[in-house]
Symmetry: C2
Subunit: 145 residues, 2 copies
């Protein structure tokens, strides 16, 4: 479909782009409490995962899981949270969020009640390390396990 | 790994089972505000999607997307929300949530600030219709699109 004039993910990248291909892009979200919060954003304006062809779904999830793997490698979070919501911006995008037991909302979702003031200091080279890991992981042919 | 003694998803189904195979099960969550709230729960105690082999990841997501398709068919929600969090129970499970513009938290995530008191009345045959749709969709060989 044509990009709706009001869709921010049709009219901007949605963050600092760390990787992109013809299907989607990976951006670093600007979330002060959550350094390393990544989003995988479909390039086309599509509402739901089941609106995609099966091969596109698998390719998109492959990028989501590469982001999870990159976060594990670079940040060693206690847990990774994955979510595709889109209630406010119904243009497919995945949140890939590194969580730590002492982060501001843990164990709640980041959208839940804040538990403490404990923003995590970002490693100074975090963006570059994540970009390197994501690009390296996605340059590999996907393994069939 | 062995099931940890404290893991509720190792020691119970986690809801009313609508479908299951050797990898995972689909249960109807008992969420009064959200009739049709489904969970896809891995049978084994595994923490992260990237701890699974690629073929298992794809098989699990195929079940998640079948649940989304079943919700679309039976309930025609305004949006479907997908999330794998696991901060409280770190045993892989996916939330597949039908959302409506007038539901109690919309447009917030269901874990966010409640906006209104408007629990949706469940269709009396909702469980049976969802079970029928999920079983039918998963009986098909996965299409390659």
């Amino acid at each position: 479909m044509n990009p709706p004039p009001s869709c921010p993910l049709c009219h901007g990248d949605g963050g600092r782009v760390l990787w992109r291909d013809s299907l989607c892009r990976v951006v670093l979200a600007d979330e002060a409490d959550y350094p390393g919060f990544l989003r995988v954003i479909l390039n086309a304006h599509v509402r739901e995962m089941t609106d995609l062809a099966v091969a596109e779904r698998e390719a998109l999830m492959n990028v989501v899981f590469a982001c999870e793997a990159a976060l594990q490698e670079v940040m060693a979070p206690d847990k990774v949270n994955l979510a595709s919501l889109g209630n406010v911006v119904p243009h497919l995008h995945w949140h890939v969020i590194p969580r730590f037991g002492d982060d501001p909302h843990f164990p709640n979702p980041v959208w839940g009640v804040r538990q403490r003031d404990s923003p995590r200091a970002a490693q100074p080279d975090l963006d570059a390390r994540l970009a390197e890991a994501i690009n390296r992981l996605l340059a590999r042919a996907p393994e069939k396990g």
